[in-house]
């Protein structure tokens, strides 16, 4: 719902691009994190020459929290090196590590080239309908995004142990509610941990192995079950969805009750969405 808190565009961000072409998707976990994650998005976008989506939501936009104001001089910079050397130039030469293409500014002599949305030759960038080239290019586009996993932090556990009975896995603005709920449940003696995913495409490279160390994985989301499906598809883990699509954020008690016994929490009037996954 416009202007309300919801996380229902995750699929669109991760899968919404034409022609089997993935891109990077990040989600800030808090209001302060919005600042840092925007910088991280620019780092990835310039290093890998790819669009990066930052998925915020209405809850974060309306929230406030103390935030240490950084000094401009301390902010990282991501200078881009522009190619000017015509020797051996092709617009689709790829950096061995990032698979990014060279940056070439129009106006640079002898590097004139054409670039567009039709399938192009792996090296020259000329339009190519060659079957093998298309398969190779499709794979190259996927590998480029997948490779970002090697350049982002490993998934850490926000609260609790890195193995156990239950992991509550969230993303985006649900951080606070999940964190408090897990804290309460742990104080009550439950073996439960909180994992919050900031990198949604690609996932951190240890995420699958981490999730498999828990007996159960619970994924609260303000949608009909999107991250839970991505996790199940990617890692074959038997993750359970916990949906709330009322336009209102999770209450801590919603999640605490779910952790305690799995019984559906009482309705708060506007009703809770059904389970997914």
């Amino acid at each position: 719902m416009p202007t309300k808190a919801e996380q229902s565009d995750l699929f669109q961000a991760v899968h919404g691009r034409n022609a089997d072409a993935p891109l990077a998707v990040l989600a800030p976990a808090s209001t302060a994190d919005c600042f840092d994650i925007a910088i991280e998005a620019v780092r990835l976008a310039t290093k890998y020459m790819t669009p990066v989506i930052v998925l915020s939501d209405g809850y974060l936009a309306h929230a406030a929290e103390p935030w240490r104001i950084p000094r401009e001089a301390d902010l990282p910079r991501f200078p881009v090196t522009y190619r000017t050397d015509p020797e051996g130039f092709h617009p689709f030469l790829r950096d061995a590590e990032t698979l990014a293409r060279p940056w070439v500014r129009p106006g640079t002599p002898q590097l004139e080239h054409r670039i567009g949305g039709l399938e192009r030759d792996y090296d020259s960038g000329h339009i190519s309908y060659d079957p093998d080239n298309h398969a190779r290019m499709t794979k190259a586009r996927a590998d480029k995004i997948a490779g970002i996993a090697n350049d982002i932090p490993l998934q850490h556990v926000s609260l609790g142990d890195d193995r156990g009975k239950l992991a509550v896995v969230g993303w985006g603005s649900t951080f606070g509610a999940i964190h408090q709920a897990v804290k309460i449940a742990r104080d009550e003696g439950n073996d439960v941990a909180h994992i919050h995913v900031r990198y949604l495409s690609p996932f951190p490279r240890n995420l699958g192995e981490l999730l498999k160390r828990y007996d159960r994985v619970l994924v609260p989301e303000m949608n009909n079950g999107q991250l839970v499906k991505l996790l199940r598809a990617e890692y074959l883990v038997d993750a359970e969805g916990f949906s709330k699509v009322t336009g209102k954020p999770f209450r801590v008690t919603d999640i605490v009750q779910r952790i305690r016994g799995g019984a559906p929490p009482p309705s708060e009037g506007s009703g809770l969405g059904g389970e997914a996954g």
Binding site: I69, R71, P106, E112, H113, I115, G116, G117, H126, I127
Partner: protein
């Protein structure tokens, strides 16, 4: 911002062609337009690395691949947005937008409106063939009422948009029309468009030989052309007919045109700086002749010029640290 004019007088039209095989249907009007653009580039001495062709989607949109300049084949209808970005990033680049009646007036009608009213210094060439050729012949926003196509088997019941009237309505400061087969006129029109600072809009009537063949025959046919076209030339009377025996004048007491004998004393003299006249000419439909040439040219400050002028003025709040620490901020001291 200073814009230097560097030209390369050594290049021939073929030097502006890329090494790629041109793939339009045999007989397509696009070949003639490509040839005219390459000739105009050579005549203007354009420097290849400083020239950028930007297109959206459609048959016309393959154009950049056939030029030896920089080229971007971009998003359907969104070439104006990308071209605006290119021009803003480097105003010294010579940026051309290639589009069609579907790409430019339907899918990208919104973008076309805004790039024209912003007056970004771009050369915008709209290939109008009154049909969606690339998708095999569906009716387009310029298709006339009654057009039978795979998507209008009973004939279109929609009223077409006039590309030039649209451009004028959007606030374009340069609006011209030509025809794919009128090579000399087309080349001259493209060169005029190029010299105009600000957005220049050129509609080219282009024959789609496969899906809409001869749709402009009532204008371009050898027999009918003298009576069906009036050439608008600044400072010259609006005459037409085999022997220039007919003219256009304002119908007395109205704001409409009428056809009179050339000998009538009050035949209109074309004034390309006169917007109302341009609007009358752009909208002419049979039995009136179609107006060709520069219908309107009245330069004004271009968008990128104003952007850079605004940026050049020192501003008080350019210190990011000061800005972040202003207003309601506080420090937590442990």
């Amino acid at each position: 911002m200073t814009v230097t004019t560097i030209t390369d007088a050594q290049l021939a039209p073929k030097d502006y062609a890329s090494d790629q095989e041109v793939r339009w249907c045999p007989g397509c009007g696009d070949y003639a337009i490509l040839k005219a653009v390459q000739k105009a580039c050579a005549d203007l001495g354009l420097v290849r690395e400083r020239t950028v062709f930007v297109s959206g989607i459609g048959c016309a949109a393959r154009f950049p691949y056939y030029m030896s300049t920089y080229g971007f084949h971009t998003v359907h209808g969104r070439a104006p947005a990308i071209a605006t970005g290119i021009k803003l990033a480097n105003p010294e680049l010579d940026v051309w937008v290639l589009t069609g009646d579907g790409d430019g007036l339907s899918i990208g009608g919104n973008h076309m409106l805004h790039v024209l009213r912003r007056n970004v210094d771009l050369n915008i060439i709209l290939f109008n063939n009154e049909i969606y050729g690339l998708t095999k012949g569906q009716y387009s926003p310029t298709s006339r009422r009654g057009t039978r196509s795979p998507s209008t088997p009973l004939g279109s019941i929609e009223n077409p948009v006039s590309a030039c009237a649209f451009a004028l309505g959007a606030g374009a400061r340069f609006v011209a029309r030509s025809i794919d087969t009128l090579q000399a006129h087309l080349i001259a029109t493209l060169k005029r468009a190029h010299t105009h600072r600000g957005a220049s809009f050129v509609e080219i009537l282009q024959n789609c030989v496969v899906f809409n063949d001869a749709v402009f025959e009532h204008i371009t046919g050898k027999e009918v052309a003298p009576d069906a076209q009036v050439l608008a030339e600044h400072g010259k009377p609006l005459l037409f007919g085999k022997n220039k025996e007919k003219g256009l004048r304002l119908k007395p007491g109205t704001l409409a045109l009428e056809i009179v004998a050339a000998t009538a004393g009050d035949v209109l003299v074309h004034d390309e700086t006169n917007r109302p006249l341009a609007q009358l000419l752009a909208a002419l439909e049979p039995p009136f002749p179609a107006a060709m040439g520069v219908l309107y040219c009245s330069p004004a400050a271009s968008y990128e010029r104003d952007v850079y002028a605004q940026q050049a003025v020192p501003k008080g709040n350019s210190d990011l640290d000061a800005l972040l620490n202003s207003e309601r901020t506080w420090e937590v001291v442990p």
